[in-house]
Symmetry: C2
Subunit: 347 residues, 2 copies
């Protein structure tokens, strides 16, 4: 049979309850006692039985990460970060893919909770901003932390200063001499889309360039939507000299469409993305983009949640720094005006 708490107690010459106190890092245990117990635990290689702990304390020591996001790279980074934080405090994590637009979305989350009883939830975009869910969680007292939520009021988790990142990207383009800069908006349900657009507009304004609605087209964060958006842009009578796409996948789509239209990148048109996902280095030319520390963000969001769950405070909304990664897809504005050709076929 494996070592139980009772065995540790006997070895340390204290009561089981005291061992339990040490295990749970409770206050009001004398330093000397604490050390004795810790030593006994280590010597016997004691591992508390999670189910027994859960049953007695009515907590599961588990958090659930909820997602509805097509970007597996982003998610796996977040997930890894969350696991980092969980390991730190001996929590476990479950993951749950959901359809945020499903009729029974909130109900499904409710079922998840009643089945698996996580102590708290980690929400990722776009679930972070599903009002129905947030209300339900509030009403039912379910603790949660968010990664990059739109609404920052009374929310704990992690965010990045997205508008500032977008402005920094715009400054890079403006610095290269670009004035006719297009923007491909992301999926409307994601807060990131709005912030990045806001940064784009603010930078234009600051640079004294009038906002031109025909240079701003909607996408949905997918490669295909980038292609579609770019086709619109490249069919304008006066082409943009730079395209700022709200994420890397769409930027890749823009580059694809540029090639398809006989436009060289960055010769004829500069293209940049956002997120620094692997695709940014897997295409040619490699994408200029903004690096988001996703794993770190997952970790921090989870730590905020765990602070709450462990009764270590209220948790807060932490803001993390970003990095502009300048690669080959952006370059100086070139003098003559480029012309798009119809569509290139087989070559």
């Amino acid at each position: 049979m494996r070592v139980r708490l009772e065995d540790v107690a006997r070895a340390a010459g204290v009561s089981p309850k005291t061992v339990s106190r040490v295990l749970n890092e409770e206050a009001n245990v004398r330093q000397l006692t604490r050390e004795k117990v810790r030593a006994a635990m280590a010597a016997m290689d004691y591992r508390p039985h999670p189910s027994a702990r859960s049953l007695a304390s009515n907590r599961s020591f588990m958090v659930a990460t909820l997602y509805d996001n097509p970007s597996s790279n982003y998610l796996s980074e977040i997930q890894t970060g969350v696991l980092d934080a969980c390991d730190l405090h001996h929590y476990s994590m479950m993951v749950r893919p959901l359809l945020v637009n499903a009729e029974d979305f909130v109900e499904r989350v409710a079922m998840l909770i009643s089945h698996h009883r996580p102590d708290g939830l980690l929400l990722t975009p776009p679930i972070t901003d599903h009002q129905g869910l947030l209300k339900w969680l509030g009403d039912n007292g379910v603790p949660y932390a968010s990664v990059s939520p739109i609404a920052r009021h009374r929310t704990i988790g992690v965010t990045m200063d997205e508008p500032r990142a977008a402005r920094e990207m715009m400054e890079h383009l403006l610095g290269l001499g670009h004035r006719r800069i297009a923007h491909v908006i992301g999926h409307p349900a994601h807060g990131a889309s709005g912030w990045r657009l806001a940064g784009y507009r603010e930078s234009l304004e600051k640079a004294g360039i009038p906002y031109n609605p025909s240079l701003v087209v909607e996408g949905d964060f997918s490669f295909g939507s980038g292609v579609t958006a770019a086709r619109k842009l490249f069919s304008l009578s006066e082409l943009p000299t730079a395209v700022f796409a709200a994420n890397d996948d769409m930027a890749a789509g823009v580059i694809w469409a540029a090639g398809d239209n006989g436009l060289a990148v960055p010769g004829d048109v500069s293209v940049c993305g956002f997120d620094d996902t692997p695709i940014s280095r897997q295409i040619w030319p490699a994408l200029t983009t903004i690096r988001q520390p996703s794993r770190e963000m997952g970790r921090i969001a989870c730590l905020q949640l765990l602070d709450v769950l462990r009764g270590r405070g209220e948790g807060e909304l932490v803001q993390v720094p970003f990095t502009l990664k300048v690669r080959e897809s952006t370059g100086p504005r070139r003098q003559g005006q480029a012309r798009a050709r119809q569509r290139r076929s087989g070559d």
Copy 2:
């Protein structure tokens, strides 16, 4: 307070133990009784308490998915499939990234097990073939199922007929008239690399084309290694007219390098990959590749494991079908010989 098993028992007019029997689908409960209990459960919306079940039965109703794989797309598919299967039988899943080459790899798995006590493990490549781990799991009686293991003897889980898929890809290239076909091998620790190479060689042999070692270069499944491999191939005095890369990322690297060397794809050289990951549609030209039903494979592997855990049999090694996806990156062999130029710069 929530509904407990005892409440259901009272409502159904039976003993708690009988409700437990129905809950666990045990034999030797009269049909009528079973129905009464089921009705009461449904009426009261009863959810068994996982920790209580675990504590009493000494099972966790949880499986752990172990991975050390850089491809988040592949993994997230597998993970989703595993979750599908878990949901079906009310199991939960935890995920664990690991470094298969770490000194303490097996020890870490042992710690994972003693901490979280999963009932079984799901192994993904390349962990599926870590002999040290497999031995340890065997010695300690830990049930596991594998996704695409190399060794198929006495292993349960799921595989695909990879050599046959590779042969089918080769037949596609041969059918397009290619004779000088190169192969970029995958990471040596993955069984897939060997199988795909084997299929390549078998097809050449069958077509009566001698094996040319200079056309076979090693990669490691990464984009960068595809670029490096392609540079070697494109520096040969006689270029290959087609390159069969062992996965999509490397194929994308080959296409990148082709562009970099002034070679048109598929005009000068056809390129194909394997796995049908999103990148295959995110590059231009879109990749001809082999689609592996990863999600389904995750689901099936997990179902085999659950069969064992639930005492429903021994589990087996299931083989799933693949699909050849012909896209734009492969085309007929062209007559004249292409010449690579040194390296293209800014354009």
